[in-house]
Symmetry: C2
């Protein structure tokens, strides 16, 4: 059953494309995703050469599984007629996804290849916001009317529908194209041919609006356990369907973007291995510079305390420990809150609940870390591993109280900043953990040196 990947790859590289056609062990065909995986693993020129050896039907199946960069190269390498045929014959969702990735002159050149109907459909869909379900809608679907019998509905289907995934569900519409209900095709099989369609409706139909965000679609698919959902406009006219495979990709991209933002990187447009060195560098340098400029405030802050440091060098020793504790507790809180908001478990109205909970958490965690710090200093001093001077106990208390203050401040700002950003309609993941950490670093220093100034006044300072 396994596709001889390496073998076929070797053959293709030597210019022999036969392996792409032969049924595997004579029992089946090669799945287009296998072919695509293979194409992506070889130099683009080779892949294009092999692709050109395909029949149109095969082309159509493999194309949607390729990555955008290869898709673009491929289209450019085809004759205008063939490129035009291919793009017009794609499923509408694959077509929209492909065109959504194009910009400017490239977009308009590729639009010229479409026939009038497809071009105007696409224009309409590209007019909807970047993140709306319009970008993943599939406009091939079958409708039936409630007056048909189950048998008639089946022959209607046979007449009008190709064997593809959107055919798992058919839609009952009225004469104006308004959606009445959806019927899984299995229900047609499970009922007698003489029954009327309207008698097998369950009257419950979850729909998406064309202006809904893709995020909303992810939630709806999850909540209602559906594999395909109809999309309507404000007048409840059925415009198309969205299938779960596209929605899974959206969910995965959302999570990848969220993770990358947590890591302090701009969201990548392509996978790590596909991103050219310099665009990767740009994505990383941006945030790194912003964070660096932010952290430069720590040098300024410490500059204000240089007298204190020169009087009590011992204070400097704990600076990394103190600020990293604030940073770590802050990014914990930010992570929890951002993810909970992304999964719609929390929203702005919960801020008071979150704040109380996080302040209490911060207090508890601060006391724990503070106690460890206190013990660390006492043990090192009394076992003579390091000499903090005669006022070591005061230093230990400075560390204890500073940690409590800083960890509380860390959990507080780590949890509140994402909630506030969300309210301001800024993506909370952008206030990513390192951003919170930087903020907490700077303010943490101020807290630390002020507590030191109070406790050590008259002794060390």
């Amino acid at each position: 059953m396994n596709f001889p990947f390496k073998e076929t790859r070797k053959k293709i590289l030597s210019g022999d494309f036969s392996g792409l056609f032969r049924p595997v062990k004579d029992t089946g065909f090669i799945h287009p995703s296998e072919v695509a995986k293979l194409f992506i693993s070889i130099p683009p020129e080779k892949a294009i050469e092999a692709f050109k050896s395909f029949q149109t039907e095969q082309e159509l199946k493999v194309f949607p599984y390729l990555d955008v960069q290869l898709q673009k190269k491929l289209i450019r390498s085809l004759t205008k007629e063939r490129a035009s045929y291919l793009l017009n014959a794609l499923n509408s969702d694959d077509r929209t996804i492909f065109y959504s990735s194009l910009k400017g002159i490239e977009l308009s050149n590729f639009l010229d290849l479409l026939d009038d109907k497809n071009r105007s459909d696409l224009h309409k869909l590209l007019g909807y916001p970047d993140k709306s379900v319009a970008r993943i809608i599939n406009t091939e679907f079958v409708t039936i009317s409630r007056e048909m019998s189950v048998g008639e509905a089946c022959s209607h289907l046979r007449k009008f529908h190709a064997d593809n995934d959107t055919a798992n569900v058919v839609y009952v519409v009225d004469n104006n194209g308004r959606l009445i209900d959806d019927v899984p095709i299995r229900r047609l099989v499970l009922n007698d041919a003489e029954k009327k369609v309207e008698d097998i409706l369950d009257g419950y139909c979850t729909t998406l609006k064309i202006t809904d965000s893709m995020e909303d679609a992810v939630e709806k698919f999850k909540e209602y356990d559906r594999v395909v959902l109809p999309v309507t406009n404000d007048d409840n006219i059925l415009l198309g369907v969205v299938t779960i495979d596209d929605v899974m990709d959206v969910a995965e991209q959302r999570d990848t973007a969220e993770i990358q933002k947590f890591g302090g990187i701009e969201q990548l447009d392509y996978p790590y291995v596909k991103t050219p060195f310099f665009s990767l560098l740009k994505k990383r340098a941006g945030w790194l510079i912003v964070l660096f400029l932010g952290e430069m405030l720590t040098a300024t802050a410490m500059g204000y305390f240089d007298k204190e440091i020169s009087k009590a060098v011992v204070l400097a020793l704990f600076v990394p420990l103190i600020i990293s504790s604030g940073g770590n507790s802050g990014s914990q809180a930010a992570t929890l809150i951002i993810r909970a908001m992304a999964l719609k478990e929390l929203s702005f109205k919960d801020w008071w609940y979150v704040m109380r909970r996080e302040i209490l958490s911060g207090l508890s965690l601060g006391v724990i870390l503070g106690a460890i710090g206190f013990i660390r200093i006492s043990v090192w001093q009394n076992l003579h591993w390091y000499n903090y001077g005669e006022h070591w106990l005061l230093i230990a208390f400075t560390i204890f109280f500073s940690l409590i203050g800083i960890v509380m401040w860390g959990t507080f700002s780590g949890s509140m900043i994402p909630i506030i950003l969300k309210k301001l309609k800024i993506d909370p993941a952008t206030s990513s953990a390192p951003f919170v950490a930087t903020l907490v670093d700077v303010t943490g220093l101020v807290i630390y040196f002020n507590i030191a100034a109070i406790l050590l006044k008259g002794t060390l300072l």
Copy 2:
């Protein structure tokens, strides 16, 4: 079409459960997931009371959508007969998922409620590893034989199959139960009743093995764009099916766990709002203490350089800036690599490619940050905003070279540690960004003070 959520909630809280039954606007029924959402939003006692007012069929539909804690409370509150009926009548995947969350005495008490067949099935499934597809398998499915006609297959379906999601695809097996092919039910509708089943097979059937991990299942569903996949054992005997809704949940849980580990928190078992205060505290305190103990090494490291610091207090001012730059570049690299590995874009064999790329990135990023640091010091000095003393230029060079060294070291360790952990079969997300940051903090200090010692020897030091 919208379910009157708030209204119904209020009614239920006052003991009136009628809103749960009435068809919404007389056009449809209430989707079980709506009911579940409502139940989760009210005190458990009320939800249980309302649940008890249901007919069995409704109970069965709503139960799988509830969260585990409410499910357990509910089962305990029912009479033994009713609890037993409910648990036996559930879909097998929902049953396995529920029992997978139980442990020890609780598990054996609840197992007693099952009939012999279900109990032995479950025992078998729970015997497979925690993360294998056995935990989400659905054992209700319909098989047909290749000798049937399409019409016979349809009547067979009508006779043996209820209207649920697994009925979107039927399976062709031989006399020994070995899987031959899968047939989407729509294909039965789209072909003439007289055709033989074997003539409508495409010979291509993607399968899961019962021992495959759930992660593998996520990849397969994504790669082949399927909504349900058959599960077989080593002899190719069909054991059950896995549906995409369960797989989407698995993918989401994977991403949540990954994000939480990035944030330096142990993976939560329940959503933030559902996790009791003290177990949340435990999840957070664990890593925070580990990181704190790690960061204590910074105090030790700085202790070795206290002479240098007291001679040149100015060095201390840049400590937070220096180490956070190393930490940020390290967590960027770790984030990129961990995510790329989770999505199978990278594996161990790519280490050499990744290493070259990351060292080069680190060098470029280090030069950028170093230059900014250098400029910062020069500008502050020459505009008299801060006085770094007569050797300010040497200090500026110290910062410049330290940043290059530390950022390179950060990207290097941030990218290599996850790859090495993966090779050691430890989840790379556990070497989460803060862990890398802590490592880089400690070693970064050593790099910084050594560069300072070389450059400032004979002047400041």
